[in-house]
């Protein structure tokens, strides 16, 4: 009964989404206030019904209703309850439902926090989001309904993929999807602006906070996924350039470009058509990511259900959404006109180069990801593109980007006096260079790559410090000056510091990590990286739905015990899949990482043991966290809150904006 209610709620949701996608847009075109007015109630209704659908599916999981095919495929009565809830998005159908539900959350949020916007803008934005929801709900109902019955019911379920039975994976998909789906808001604003034909700076101001929120979610989602791969896969790697990782990384890169480009459009009224195109592209890549994961056109460790019928549907959807948007862009963009003028060296030009580099980086990831597909389609044979390609292409693009990242916040709009800027930053750059050259010596071994990475990181830190100093130094009250800066300024600097922290993590872990893969008998001691690892053998332990071989490793330094680690090798009862649970002693300066390989046959309890020492590896994720916090600070800025209160004024402001254009 409950699954039928869910199914019915989905159908109602589709109906509401369809109405939302048609009436308000027609209303906006005909200037009909009644038709435009239905947008908000419809958005709320869509949210309620998709919420009911998601609730019903969750109920089916928690109550172990194995007469629902999707539940039978992804759950089991032995599965702990928390994983039964997260199993809702552990497979194809359920993650689509989560996608659609989160889209309705964003739609509702736009409906609620858009009181200061002109009615026709709201109608168009909500309408576009409704049309996207139509696509996803149709896809779900036609090819991948999570409520399909399995009759007669299965006695027990096939269990959730053990890889997904992990706390990190409980929150990683919702976070990432919030990011993916969140870009639909910027997309909807861009399309609404194109439809309305009014391409002034206002749409940029409106969509900016939304884009930042989506970007924050996406950053956290990707970071969580990377962290999970680090401790769960047992290889100690944190990024594998896997097609599905790339599918989330490409929209992130373009989203980052979009945030910066929106700033220029809002502040200087420049880059207008480029910003619109970026907003379309960022969301298009989110959709493309969905296509790549779901259609099976690429091989990946994230192999979800690969079904060509689904592939055709998503491809058609993709072609309609992206094709129509780009045609609309081609039709409307020529009328947008140029924005404010700027010199070849100015904050605008620096941000433009940032945009170009980020887009080229996204394009190179895109080409690398789809290259095997292109070659295969052209009959050139099978091949795969691995990390060497991505590292060779990506790193050189990021070097000038980071160098300019330091200059951007210091440069003025319109025109920069080059000798003056050079004089201002010379000390900062000198200090960064000195630290980059000397610091590796204290770590034991000097290498060009480590020095280069540290130069980039300390250049950011030095330039942020310089900017803060210039803004805060002065005779009057320091606290007052500290408060005088906007939160979005602090947010930007914090996010930039996050990049520096991230680079330090990547550089040091790449430069100084120790990886040992050894056979260890019970009682064996491995000396590496100044630590002693003593292997005390493996004992059997019973988990809720698995049997684990639990290793015991004592780590000591200079005769003193540092920590005891218990890596596990689990065998899940239902799927029989072996899983590696690495044991990690995490620290500010680095991780001690032990994972169990395989037991050595015909031996007395010996195992293949992987021992890694990963200096500063946690800085990688700390950097991502700082970037996200920076985004949170930026959207907490006063002007967004004040904006909400001054709803009436916003409308009268617009003609003024156009005059300054």
């Amino acid at each position: 009964m409950i699954p039928e209610i869910g199914n019915f709620a989905l159908i109602v949701g589709l109906f509401l989404a369809f109405t939302l996608g048609v009436l308000p847009i027609v209303g906006a075109a005909r200037n009909n206030a009644v038709l435009m007015g239905v947008a908000r109630p419809l958005a709320a209704g869509q949210f309620v019904f998709l919420g009911i659908a998601l609730g019903c599916l969750t109920y089916a999981f928690v109550a172990n209703d194995f007469s629902v095919l999707y539940v039978a495929q992804h759950s089991n009565s032995q599965l702990p309850t928390v994983y039964r809830v997260s199993a809702v998005w552990g497979g194809h159908e359920g993650s689509l439902l989560l996608w659609a539900f989160l889209l309705s959350v964003w739609t509702l949020a736009v409906a609620m926090y858009s009181k200061h916007l002109p009615e026709e803008m709201v109608a168009r934005v909500l309408g576009v989001m409704g049309l996207i929801a139509v696509g996803f709900l149709l896809f779900m109902l036609m090819t991948s309904n999570p409520f399909d019955r399995l009759l007669p019911a299965a006695a027990d379920g096939r269990d959730l993929n053990p890889l997904l039975q992990d706390p990190g994976l409980v929150i990683h998909p919702p976070m990432l999807y919030m990011g993916y789906v969140g870009f639909s808001v910027a997309f909807a604003f861009a399309i609404a602006a194109l439809l309305g034909g009014r391409m002034d700076a206002t749409w940029a101001r409106w969509s900016r906070p939304w884009t930042t929120v989506a970007w924050v979610f996406m950053t956290m989602g990707i970071a969580l996924g990377s962290w999970w791969a680090y401790y769960e896969l047992g290889w100690g790697g944190w990024w594998f350039w896997d097609p599905v990782e790339n599918a989330s990384f490409m929209p992130w890169l373009l989203g980052t470009a979009l945030i910066h480009s929106l700033a220029v459009t809002e502040k200087r009224n420049a880059f207008k058509s480029w910003t619109v195109l970026l907003a379309i592209a960022a969301f298009s890549l989110s959709l493309l990511g969905t296509f790549l994961v779901r259609s099976g056109v690429l091989t990946s460790v994230h192999s979800f259900a690969a079904d060509p019928k689904r592939g055709i549907f998503i491809l058609t959807f993709l072609v309609i959404v992206i094709g129509v948007s780009l045609l609309l862009f081609a039709w409307r963009a020529p009328k947008i006109g140029l924005g404010g003028k700027f010199d070849p060296l100015s904050r605008e030009s620096l941000l433009l180069s940032n945009n170009v580099l980020l887009s080229v980086a996204a394009a190179s990831v895109f080409i690398g990801t789809l290259y095997p597909l292109f070659m295969d389609a052209l009959g050139q044979g099978k091949l795969s593109v691995g990390p060497p390609y991505f590292e060779a292409v990506f790193v050189p693009l990021m070097i000038p980007m980071v160098l300019m990242m330091g200059l951007g916040p210091l440069a003025r709009w319109k025109k920069v006096d080059a000798p003056e800027l050079a004089k201002r930053v010379s000390w900062a750059f000198g200090a960064a260079l000195l630290i980059a050259l000397l610091l590796p010596l204290t770590m034991g071994k000097w290498s060009v790559m480590v020095s280069l990475g540290l130069l980039l990181a300390f250049w950011i830190i030095a330039s942020v410090t310089l900017s803060l100093r210039e803004r805060l130094a002065g005779r009057d009250d320091f606290m007052q000056r500290l408060r005088g800066q906007s939160l979005s300024y602090y947010g930007m600097q914090l996010a930039h510091l996050g990049v520096a922290v991230f680079i330090i993590g990547v550089t040091l872990v790449k430069g100084y990590e120790t990886e040992r893969d050894v056979r260890m008998d019970v009682g064996d001691v491995l000396n590496t990286g100044g630590y002693e690892f003593r292997f005390n053998g493996v004992t059997e332990e019973q988990g809720p739905n698995y049997v684990a071989g639990k290793g015991h490793v004592t780590i000591s330094k200079d005769g003193k015990v540092v920590t005891e680690l218990y890596p596990e090798k689990r065998q899940y009862n239902v799927s029989g899949m072996p899983m590696t649970e690495a044991a990690i002693d995490a620290g500010l300066l680095g991780d001690l990482y032990v994972s169990l390989g395989e037991p050595i046959p015909d031996s007395d309890g010996a195992w293949a043991v992987r021992v890694y020492i990963k200096p500063f590896v946690d800085w990688i994720w700390a950097g991502c966290l700082l970037m996200s916090l920076g985004g949170v600070l930026a959207i907490s800025d006063r002007r967004y809150r004040i904006h909400n209160k001054r709803s009436a004024e916003a409308k009268t402001e617009m003609p003024l904006e156009e005059k300054t254009a």
């Binding site: 195109l277 056109v297 091989t299 993709l318 081609a330 020529p334």
Partner: protein, 175 residues
């Protein structure tokens, strides 16, 4: 106007590629041995170790070489398909018993039936290396000139038998 339509054009090209890509299987890895002569070997027959067998004996005939083992679980899955195929007498199936013990292998054939004209024993897996065996089972289609024309990785199913292997065999036999 032209430069604004460019993103759309790029996207159309991409969409065509994605459409073609949908009909390709990225997991299908072609064997480098396809189109090359089947590697020569001489191995004792499983049932009569005194008698050797070599692919050269098969010149002039289209035949299947099926790699199997008694320890292989997927082989149980494909076994009925092979039994049915041997009953229909379309193409001779020769077995390569891979890294197996003779007693186990004979018992396995006794229980499930023997679809093979004969099997050879590759106890150390030496020949498996020459043939690039990824895993058991694998099936090779070898033509009259002794050239490998197709390699099936994983069990033979009724579907890939009727769609791929049998049409190919018929075509090769007609040559």
């Amino acid at each position: 106007m032209m430069r604004f339509i460019l993103p759309f054009v790029v996207f159309v090209v991409l969409a065509v590629f994605l459409f073609v890509g949908l009909n390709l299987n990225p997991r299908e890895v072609p064997s480098p041995l396809v189109g090359k002569p089947a590697p020569a070997f001489t191995l004792p027959q499983l049932h009569e170790p005194a008698k050797p067998f070599s692919p050269a004996d098969m010149k002039g005939q289209v035949w299947l070489l099926n790699v199997w083992a008694s320890w292989c679980v997927s082989c149980k899955e494909e076994h009925p398909v092979l039994m049915e195929l041997s009953r229909r007498n379309i193409v001779p199936i020769y077995g390569l018993d891979y890294k197996d013990k003779q007693a186990d292998a004979e018992l396995w054939l006794k229980r499930g039936g023997d679809p093979y004209v004969l099997s050879v024993a590759d106890a150390e897996g030496r020949i498996g290396i020459d043939y690039g065996v990824y895993g058991v089972p694998e099936t090779y289609v070898i033509d009259k000139q002794g050239v490998i024309q197709y390699k099936q990785i994983g069990p033979v199913t009724p579907q890939n038998l009727t769609e791929k292997i049998l049409p190919l065999v018929a075509e090769l036999q007609a040559k």
